[in-house]
Symmetry: C2
Subunit: 223 residues, 2 copies
DNA sequence: TTCCTCATTAATGTATACATTAATTAATTC
DNA sequence: GAATTAATTAATGTATACATTAATGAGGAA
């Protein structure tokens, strides 16, 4: 055990590599040898190998022996695939949340994140908005009480993280978005799973359309 | 490199451990130390460690240091979660397949597996039926042209494999099942994505209900 | 008998040496 | 100059030694 916080070097490597990938320091499309990563992380190759296997399973990189570990870049097709699944599973989560008949107290975090988004839009604080938006979606999926949906959604959100951060500062300030969040909240409060599913599906579909158009209009073929 | 067929011991370990898990030889709920598995597979601990990390990511086992690698057993709740996702994503796949406007030639494999199922039911050959059924579902998802849906569905099918094999010999011979397969095929041929989605959703939902009831009535709490 | 402490054991995580293998470079042939 | 072969280099996969750590068992005190 080399690091108190992470209990093992493998776990630290997973964490640190994720940070490097999301920050763009390990840029999408670049290749890195095990030995390079091991040096960079100041540990032997063994935990680095273990970490890269785990990150490959998360879809963040591809292990290519002798050519280097490639940090995966998403193509437009990748984005389409991911958002097809994300839209579907989050909409299912919304329906399940509505079916669960939560009382208002159980929905506090959801309501709070909507308010936070409102404040962020008023202040034109895009970073705060993005955080509150992520909190809303995360909480929505948690309310489905299906841990597997949570795992898949979380993983796909990791994969699109760079694209979302890239577009955060070039997209229009989200005005309509929160109306849809509120409508979804209301549908969940009233236990209307059909409405919840549709509202969220439309919300996600338009968000997806905007994301892909932005990337396209800025000539970002891979991100 | 120790094994020609698999290029590496790690890959062979993944393969062999999967076989052992699906066959029940490594029984659900049992714990196994790295050293035990290494002996069993006749290799050192290193590739075994790598393989168990990969299989953990596939949801087939849980790595529990010093307590042993636990072969995961599915509870009724697990089954619910898995089938919730499977139903949703396969139904999406069905809709995408219908949207794709395939010509009949492209749907040959789908049609063939329906015929194979018909023959299997006539012959009361449950194993052949199960194979044809799996082929049908696999082909359906492939027709969606979304590799991520394919990966998720494939992985969840792995997780429920033992449960399905367990119930294969105690369930009623599937008569109605193939009617639904044919109806789905027709909906895809005619490009009716709404019908495709609904037909498959109903098909999957009743199959799920039957599976969980069978496990329940036989007192199988975990499988 | 129960609880606590300490010693022992063994399982794990890691670093490293080494055999294998793939890629690159150099030398030779046409 | 291009193609082929041979030699060299380095990246990988693996086994193993070892340090660390968690679990277990033994012994002693209350």
């Amino acid at each position: 055990m080399q690091d108190e916080q992470f209990k093992s070097n493998t776990r630290r490597a997973v964490h640190d590599l994720r940070e490097l990938i999301f920050s763009g320091e390990l840029a999408a499309g670049t290749d890195h040898l095990e030995s390079e990563l091991a040096e960079r992380l100041n540990m032997s190759r063994t935990p680095v190998r273990e970490a890269t296997l785990m990150l490959e399973a998360q879809g963040l990189l591809e292990v290519r022996p002798r050519k280097g570990v490639r940090i995966l870049a998403l193509s437009a097709d990748d984005m389409d695939e991911i958002y097809e699944v994300l839209t579907e599973l989050e909409s299912l989560a919304a329906a399940l949340a509505a079916d669960a008949q939560y009382c208002k107290k159980d929905l506090n975090i959801l309501a709070q994140s909507i308010d936070d988004m409102e404040v962020a839009v008023t202040n034109e604080d895009r970073v705060a908005w993005a955080k509150a938006d992520a909190d809303f979606h995360h909480e929505l999926v948690r309310l489905s009480k299906n841990s597997r949906i949570m795992a898949i959604v979380s993983n796909f959100n990791d994969q699109v993280r760079r694209a979302r951060m890239t577009t955060l500062h070039i997209r229009p300030l989200p005005q309509k978005s929160n109306e849809e969040h509120r409508a979804l909240y209301d549908a969940i409060v009233s236990g209307d799973s059909k409405a919840a599913r549709e509202i969220h599906w439309n919300h996600r579909t338009s968000a997806r359309k905007m994301l892909t158009e932005l990337l396209d209009s800025h000539g970002l073929k891979r991100v």
